[in-house]
């Protein structure tokens, strides 16, 4: 088997294995797996509305995945996507509400505000890592909590003690009347184009610029890079800032696209943490992130339809979805066995 065949076969087999084990779980707990998977399928692709909502769900996952993947390429573990997303969410909503500008200024302004907020939030762990060698995992996790409660408090201030900032001005909205009309009022918005453009941007930075080369070099070997004359500290901070900007944009997608407001939250959105899995599933490459985000977004969204259409309890659905993702993440194991089988053949 050539390498290319293996590369295609691995994800296919892992998805099938995941589906099979998920089916067994449903069977054992007394639910019809065929009905369950039909519901999942319909939940993702069933009609225009479902497809629109699925893409809507994929959008923030794309950006969250990019954020984790980008930092990872410089050898940094950005667990702070959640926090960066929340500050981005708030920044975009605030700009969306507080200003009244023509759309071609207002919308970019709100988007950039979100990216800057996320970048600023990630700058702190980057700086601490570069200057004082404080591990970025600890700092970013703590920054998540700070972000959650700070944004909650700020939303209260903005809304005079309420729990919701109120709807943003239409001039800052990513909402699309066209998408609404073709997807039966799904919340699909223009943000998907921004997300895809960012995928392209990440690829461009990493593969086509000197900065990207340096960032990757630092990721491969910090000491060698320093020896080669690169400014490691600068690159660490830069990488975190860019990663934070991606995460902030994910927040903008929620603020300007899906929700059109920011509200006080009791807990994290989960998008940031799922972003880690999205990035790792995609092997931290821009194209891989698309794959990871599509898989995660579709399964997460489609899963909502399983209790709705097939009457399977949410708990079982969570297990089934987790199993599918687990098997996809186990691709290495399958690759290992395929290659082993390959070698034996060649030996014969």
């Amino acid at each position: 088997m050539s390498n290319r065949v293996v590369n295609i076969l691995v994800p296919v087999i892992s998805v099938i294995l995941g589906l099979l084990v998920g089916a067994i779980v449903m069977l054992v707990s007394g639910y019809d797996p065929v009905l369950g998977y039909t519901a999942l399928w319909n939940g993702i692709f069933g009609d225009a509305y479902a497809i629109g909502e699925t893409i809507r769900q994929i959008t923030p996952y794309l950006l969250a995945g990019l954020s984790v993947a980008f930092a990872f390429r410089t050898g940094l573990f950005n667990i702070g996507v959640e926090g960066q997303l929340l500050v981005g969410w708030f920044a975009a909503s605030y700009v969306g509400i507080a200003f009244d500008l023509p759309m071609y200024i207002h919308l970019p302004f709100a988007i950039i505000a979100a990216a800057l907020a996320g970048a600023a939030w990630a700058f702190i762990p980057g700086l601490l890592k570069a200057k004082l060698q404080v591990h970025e995992v600890i700092v970013t996790i703590m920054m998540n909590y700070i972000a959650l409660h700070t944004t909650n408090a700020m939303i209260k201030v903005v809304s005079d003690g309420g729990d919701n900032t109120g709807t943003i001005n239409p001039s800052a909205s990513l909402k699309s009347a066209f998408f609404e009309s073709i997807t039966d009022y799904s919340r699909l918005h223009y943000g998907i184009f921004i997300a895809l453009a960012m995928v392209l941007l990440m690829w461009f930075i990493l593969e086509k610029t000197t900065t990207g080369y340096e960032l990757k070099a630092v990721g491969f070997n910090k000491h060698a890079s320093e020896y080669a004359g690169m400014n490691v500290n600068k690159n660490i901070i830069l990488s975190m800032v860019i990663a934070g900007a991606f995460a902030g944009l994910a927040g903008a997608m929620e603020a300007l696209g899906t929700f059109q407001y920011a509200n006080v939250k009791g807990g994290f959105t989960g998008i940031g943490f799922d972003g880690i899995a999205v990035a790792l599933l995609g092997a931290n490459t821009p194209l891989g992130v698309i794959f990871g985000a599509v898989l995660f977004g579709s399964l997460k969204y489609g899963a909502l339809n399983m209790p709705n259409e097939a009457g399977i309890p949410v708990e079982i659905v969570s297990i089934v979805i987790a199993i599918i993702i687990f098997f996809v993440a186990c691709g290495y194991v399958i690759r290992y066995f395929l290659e082993k089988a390959n070698k034996k053949k060649e030996a014969k």
Partner: protein, 359 residues
């Protein structure tokens, strides 16, 4: 070579399995629908009315708010011979982003009334109500101004006032705790009412107020309760949904270790007596009832009779028997109950007005 063939064979079997599985699915989905058709013809006594609700992230087994709403729907369903799934159903939300989708899914299944349970549902209901002007919605704990939305509000402060009176009269240490979920208007009404009730009995009693910021974190509720009980608090009133289950867990743990421990919990929304059972004893002093279930049923009955209260706001207070205290099952002596009743009468008649917010 044999291995290769085996491998190929295996993948073919797997592939065939999924493809055939997909084929089978079509038949599977069409058959139950047909049988449903005949089923509904067979059962004549079932009314032609259906209702469903969307929960917030707490889920219907939060043993307080969502549970109460779901029980109302279930009771209505059983009364009218409806079947779960067809006649009444619920969808649970995993995150804020799911509210709109879940509401929309239920609208598409043609439920006659779709309930959004909780203030978090305000914006989603507003959005969907605009998009689907022909469907009827109801929202609990928030007001949505739309012709096809019925809003239900509760005077939590009145029920909480009675809980405060009960706590103040029953406390031995003269220290009482309040554990809130998120700091939102609904919970603040519980908070304010409770404090007012305590003050009405004895202004010198100290009330330790803690907001956990979450409705679904029992572990956090447990640590908060632990700290309160350790500092000398003997009665805790919680208004924190699933987080409050941790308050019960902590009280029960203390009661198990030491049968004479003076720890009590006042439950919220539903009668939480069963939550507090420790062997033969119980740590539940009483529960402040918020009869979401009754409200849900009332709207359903109105809608079935063709009088859906769209665009209106119904407020349930003590006078409407929408809030109140649960049976204490002997935990509160009769003379205290009499005093509580006295306050209840004064509130219901308007002699005492309980403020909604801190001032």
């Amino acid at each position: 070579m044999t291995k290769r063939k085996f491998g190929l064979g295996l993948s073919l079997v797997l592939a065939a399995g999924t493809i055939l599985g997909a084929c089978g699915s079509d038949e599977e989905t069409t058959t139950p629908k047909e049988s449903e058709g005949t089923g509904s013809e067979g059962t004549t006594e079932a009314v032609d009315f259906s209702l469903a609700m969307v929960t917030d992230v707490g889920g219907i087994d939060d043993k307080s708010f969502n549970t109460s709403a779901w029980q109302g729907i279930e009771a209505f369903g059983k009364e009218n011979g409806l079947e779960k799934g067809e006649g009444y159903d619920y969808l649970q939300s995993a995150s804020d982003a799911d509210y709109v989708t879940n509401l929309n899914n239920l609208v598409r299944r043609d439920f006659d009334v779709v309930y959004g349970v909780g203030f978090l549902m305000e914006q989603p209901i507003k959005t969907i109500a605009e998009q689907k002007p022909d469907s009827n919605f109801a929202i609990i704990d928030s007001i949505v101004d739309a012709p096809n939305v019925a809003s239900v509000m509760f005077k939590e402060q009145e029920g909480a006032f009675l809980a405060g009176v009960a706590a103040a009269l029953m406390s031995e240490s003269k220290q009482i705790g309040f554990v809130g979920g998120m700091e939102i208007p609904v919970i603040e009404r519980f908070h304010v009412g409770f404090i007012e009730g305590v003050k009405a009995v004895d202004p010198s009693i100290k009330v330790d107020v803690q907001y956990t910021g979450k409705f679904d974190d029992a572990a956090l509720g447990k640590t908060t309760a632990n700290r309160m009980y350790s500092s000398g608090v003997d009665i805790i009133f919680h208004a924190a949904g699933g987080t409050g289950n941790g308050v019960f867990a902590e009280a029960k743990e203390r009661k198990t270790k030491d049968a004479n421990a003076n720890v009590w919990v006042i439950g919220v929304d539903s009668d939480q007596y069963e939550e507090g059972a420790v062997g033969d004893t119980n740590v539940t002093l009483t529960s402040m009832l918020k009869k979401v279930g009754t409200a849900v049923q009332n709207i359903a009955n109105d809608a079935m009779a063709g009088n859906f209260p769209g665009g209106k706001t119904v407020t349930y207070g003590l006078a409407e028997e929408g809030v109140g205290l649960a049976d204490s099952r002997g935990a509160i002596p009769q003379d205290v109950l009499d005093q509580i009743d006295e306050y209840a009468k004064q509130i219901a008649s308007g002699e005492i007005t309980v403020p909604e917010t801190m001032e």
